[in-house]
């Protein structure tokens, strides 16, 4: 791993840079927001799909009972 990291990075992180926190905050806020958004959509999708399954079963059984 050691030779994977470009030496300029190692030195950069060793330096105290005043703008580092902003970059980290930007990434963190963004990732959390995106992950939360996708999770919310997926959860809603799963709930919807469950409802659809239940309903279509009811519709099918009704159709069979009607025949």
């Amino acid at each position: 791993m050691g030779n994977l990291i470009d030496p300029t990075n190692t030195e950069l992180y060793a330096l105290v840079l005043k703008d580092a926190p902003y970059v980290i905050v930007a990434y963190a806020v963004l990732w959390v927001a995106l992950v939360a958004y996708v999770t919310v959509i997926l959860r809603r999708m799963l709930k919807l799909n469950r409802e659809i399954e239940v309903l279509s079963e009811v519709v099918d059984s009704k159709a069979q009972a009607g025949e």
């Binding site: 190692t10 963004l30 999708m45």
Partner: protein
């Protein structure tokens, strides 16, 4: 007003759409994460401006070219490492994704006006929703970037927002997306709402190319991609991040479309049950 072309067919196509969306989301997520890791490890730190040292120091950063060295022979001038450049691997791809989904919304708005199919209005609306997500993402990373690399305090930010052409037109793009939803909420008749939204989307979209090309046309502080060239170790994560983010953008859009179709299917099923 759900499409009434059969619930069974709807379920099948929704399942396929959902699969594609989930695969794209996973691949996009992996690619952007990979780009993120590469950006902080293998990518060589870019330099920006110069810094003077009283004597030569042990460093991996190259000294500034001979022409830029102090003429009076005092100390050594080094090129300054540029940490906030790393935001590039996220900010630019997200901004590109926001332009992409906005364009998608505008295309569906045109299609709606021509063909008057309700599903195009839904797609256009979802495109605008996704645009909102990515526009806010771009603004957040952009504010961090601005704060880190141009300015020294927050009070300058407001002024910069209005006087810098790229920031100004992009801020307006965010206002457009918000205005779009305000407009939608204030029209009750579904057909009228769809037509007005489509018309407004097309007018608002004109701002997108203006915002995109403005840094190349008028003097601006905003950096332009590829103007100064990039190191190969920088270019690879940058391209991966772009591909990943565009995939993620489309995945979020497709997920929402699948969700709306499921909701329509649900309405159809409920109607069948009652009827």
């Amino acid at each position: 007003m759900p499409d009434t072309d059969g619930a069974a067919k709807g379920v099948g196509s929704v399942k396929r759409q959902l699969q594609v969306a989930i695969i794209l989301a996973i691949v996009g997520g992996v690619l952007t994460t990979a780009a993120f890791l590469m950006a902080f490890t293998t990518a060589r730190v870019q330099t920006f401006g110069t810094i003077d040292a009283p004597a030569a120091v042990e460093t991996t950063y190259p000294p500034a070219p001979a022409a830029m060295q102090p003429t009076d022979g005092t100390g050594v001038r080094y090129q300054r490492p540029w940490l906030s450049q790393k935001i590039f691997y996220f900010h630019v791809p997200i901004a590109e994704a926001s332009f992409l989904v906005f364009t998608l919304a505008a295309i569906f708005a045109v299609l709606f006006l021509v063909k008057r199919k309700q599903s195009y209005d839904t797609r256009s609306r979802i495109g605008m929703e996704t645009t909102l997500v990515f526009t806010i993402g771009t603004m957040i990373t952009g504010v961090m970037w601005t704060r880190a690399s141009w300015l020294t305090n927050w009070s300058q930010l407001g002024r910069e927002m209005l006087s810098e052409p790229r920031l100004a037109t992009y801020t307006i793009m965010l206002v457009f997306v918000i205005a779009y939803f305000v407009l939608r909420n204030s029209v009750e008749d579904p057909e009228r709402r769809a037509v007005y939204s489509a018309v407004f989307t097309i007018i608002a979209w004109i701002d997108a190319p203006i915002s995109f090309f403005i840094t190349r046309m008028v003097p601006s502080n905003h950096p332009i991609v590829f103007q100064s060239g990039m190191d190969t170790t920088n270019l690879i994560p940058f391209i991966i991040a772009q591909i990943g983010m565009l995939m993620l953008g489309y995945a979020i859009y497709a997920l929402r479309v699948a969700e709306e179709s499921s909701r329509d299917t649900l309405t159809v099923l409920k109607e069948q049950l009652e009827g």
